[in-house]
């Protein structure tokens, strides 16, 4: 039984973000990390491996060369090997192009379970898992608060409007998990040392039998403007007053905004 975890390198939540002249995110300028929600997918895969449900945990990322750092960090948490798909022609790729390329790489890696995060921090579409499932012709088990592998089926626990469902599909599947699977582990010093010797391959688009023309450049969408959000009026602070005065001010404020009569 083999799992491939798809992970993306993204700018750290705290990093200052900048756009290049052609309105792409300047990935070289920002401190880069594993997409935080993909760490939960890694954690889920490693727990399945520790429980003996899975033999091999591999990682797959598409991105610039420096994404190798994210894969190395994942290998330091655990798992066996990693593949990076990197090609200058992929800069600025959108959900469709990303899914197309990952699907081509997954055709070669042929896992029983492809595991993804519920969303990437930068794109936030939560589209790649479903698009990869559609392109590869596999069932999708999405937004799992837990993933289990039982015999030849995958099962997830999925939140509903007022409770939860158990959703099942025959393997092979594409699955995505949420931040409810359990807190991601830290890489130990031993893990970091071990990661240096784990195999990592880099594939180009040509290695996958694809060309930039197959991907409509790299995107079917384009950004025409990037700006800072509209500034809000400054915060009004109520402090160093008695609770009664604070409440009186809140009531006035609510009434002025017609939130109470």
């Amino acid at each position: 039984m083999k799992i491939v975890v798809c992970l993306k390198q993204v700018p750290a939540t705290t990093a200052e973000k900048r756009y290049t002249a052609d309105l792409r995110l300047d990935r070289a300028a920002a401190e880069a990390v594993i997409n935080p929600l993909d760490e939960y997918a890694i954690e889920q895969a490693l727990r399945l491996q520790e429980a003996g449900a899975v033999a091999t945990v591999s990682y797959l990322s598409m991105g610039p060369e420096q994404s190798a750092e994210a894969l190395r960090r994942a290998l330091a948490m655990g798992g066996d090997d990693a593949t990076l798909v990197s090609d200058p022609a992929l800069a600025g790729s959108d959900a469709w192009a990303t899914a197309r390329v990952l699907a081509a790489a997954l055709d070669r890696l042929a896992p029983d379970v492809t595991l993804m995060g519920m969303a990437s921090d930068d794109a936030r579409g939560s589209l790649v898992p479903g698009a990869v499932a559609a392109i590869r012709g596999l069932p999708l088990l999405s937004y799992g608060a837990e993933l289990r592998i039982e015999g030849s089926v995958g099962r997830i626990r999925r939140l509903t409007a007022d409770g939860f469902d158990i959703v099942e599909a025959p393997l092979p599947v594409v699955a995505s998990v949420t931040d409810q699977v359990g807190e991601p582990r830290y890489a130990s010093l031993k893990g970091i040392m071990a990661a240096k010797r784990k195999p990592m391959e880099t594939w180009s688009l040509a290695d996958l039998g694809l060309s930039a023309a197959d991907l409509h450049g790299a995107a079917l969408t384009r950004v025409i403007e990037a700006r800072k959000p509209e500034g809000k009026p400054p915060t009004e602070r109520v402090e160093n007053v008695s609770p009664d005065d604070a409440v009186a001010r809140i009531v006035e404020w609510l009434a002025a905004r017609k939130l109470i009569a």
Binding site: R158, G163, V238, I250
Partner: protein, 326 residues
């Protein structure tokens, strides 16, 4: 190519969801600009009754499947319906089911995808979307690349459009073209565990009283429920409060919870972490009550009250009751 605008209309328990009514209004408004019509692609329990979406703005409705199966299991039927209707754009709710079905269409048909967005418009026939990216630090405007296939798939956040009121039309209903569902159709719900008590749908609430780690316990939420009751609102939470088991996860607001846009959000004992903020920053009015004068929520709330929530919240409830004479 038509000027029609399609939308994914999710049904649950026999009725259209709030998102279906919002997107019907949005699709109708966009379609009207080019003289086209709004077309619903309906799925979920009750979808066979999609004619009622006519009063919400849809001229036509295609039923993908009237069952509780995960939305993505309708993907090949949806793809066939999209090919047949050839709309300019397809609006999808930015809900788990909506995103999954939209994603499958992107994969099956090779379509441009946008969002989640908070605004969609047509500029001289070109579809443009406005999206908050990178945890809301940047707003980007996007459009389909030259020569990109149609429709453009747009994920739309809750409360981006308001449902139409008072309509009486019926939509013309057809069934989706017959297709093989294939492996995408194989996922099945094998167990359902509804909660014992009703859980509020935060996306529909116009007032949200949210509690965080500062609330301290499940019982600590009682004064928040009281305040929500006098304001006609619902109680929400941070992930810290949901993780602690004080409230169900359905009430979590933020990156991995609900994205809400109420008229009033009141944060009680919530620090305002970026992952929480992305779920509530488009609330029209933000009041925060926190005993730490340096809490980050104090940097983006409209009114920031430094104080103990267990003193302020009950007094506020009492004062509002007194004013209302109840």
């Amino acid at each position: 190519m038509s000027s029609d605008v399609a939308f994914l209309a999710e049904f649950a328990d026999g009725s259209p969801s709030r998102s279906a009514l919002e997107l019907a209004a949005g699709a109708a408004a966009l379609a009207k600009q080019g003289g086209g019509a709004a077309i619903a692609l309906a799925y979920g329990k009750g979808a066979a009754g999609a004619a009622q979406l006519g009063s919400a703005g849809a001229a036509r409705a295609v039923v993908l499947g009237d069952n509780t199966n995960p939305a993505i299991t309708h993907a090949t039927a949806a793809a066939a319906a999209v090919r047949e209707a050839a709309p300019l754009a397809l609006l999808a709710p930015a809900t788990p089911n909506g995103r999954d079905l939209a994603a499958a269409l992107v994969g099956l048909l090779g379509l441009p995808a946008f969002g989640p967005v908070r605004a969609v418009r047509l500029d001289g026939g070109t579809l443009r979307t406005e999206q908050a990216t990178l945890q809301g630090t940047v707003i980007t405007v996007s459009e389909p690349a030259e020569g990109a296939p149609q429709p453009a798939v747009v994920l739309v956040l809750p409360s981006t459009f308001s449902p139409l009121e008072g309509g009486t039309r019926e939509a013309v209903v057809t069934n989706a073209p017959a297709t093989e569902a294939g492996p995408l159709g194989a996922a099945r719900i094998v167990e359902s565990h509804p909660a014992e008590a009703a859980v509020a749908n935060l996306e529909e609430a116009s007032v949200i009283i949210a509690g965080g780690r500062g609330v301290g316990s499940a019982e600590g939420f009682a004064p928040l429920h009281d305040l929500a009751a006098v304001l006609g609102g619902a109680v929400g939470a941070s992930r810290a409060a949901a993780d602690a088991g004080w409230v169900p996860y359905q009430l979590q607001i933020g990156q991995t919870g609900k994205v809400v846009k109420p008229a009033l959000y009141v944060g009680c004992g919530i620090s305002g972490a970026i992952q929480h903020r992305v779920g509530m920053q488009t609330a029209e009015n933000v009041l925060a009550i926190n005993k730490d004068p340096d809490a980050p929520i104090g940097e983006f709330a409209d009114l920031f009250v430094v104080g103990d929530l267990f003193t302020i919240v009950p007094k506020l409830t009492a004062e509002i009751r007194r004013r209302k004479g109840i």
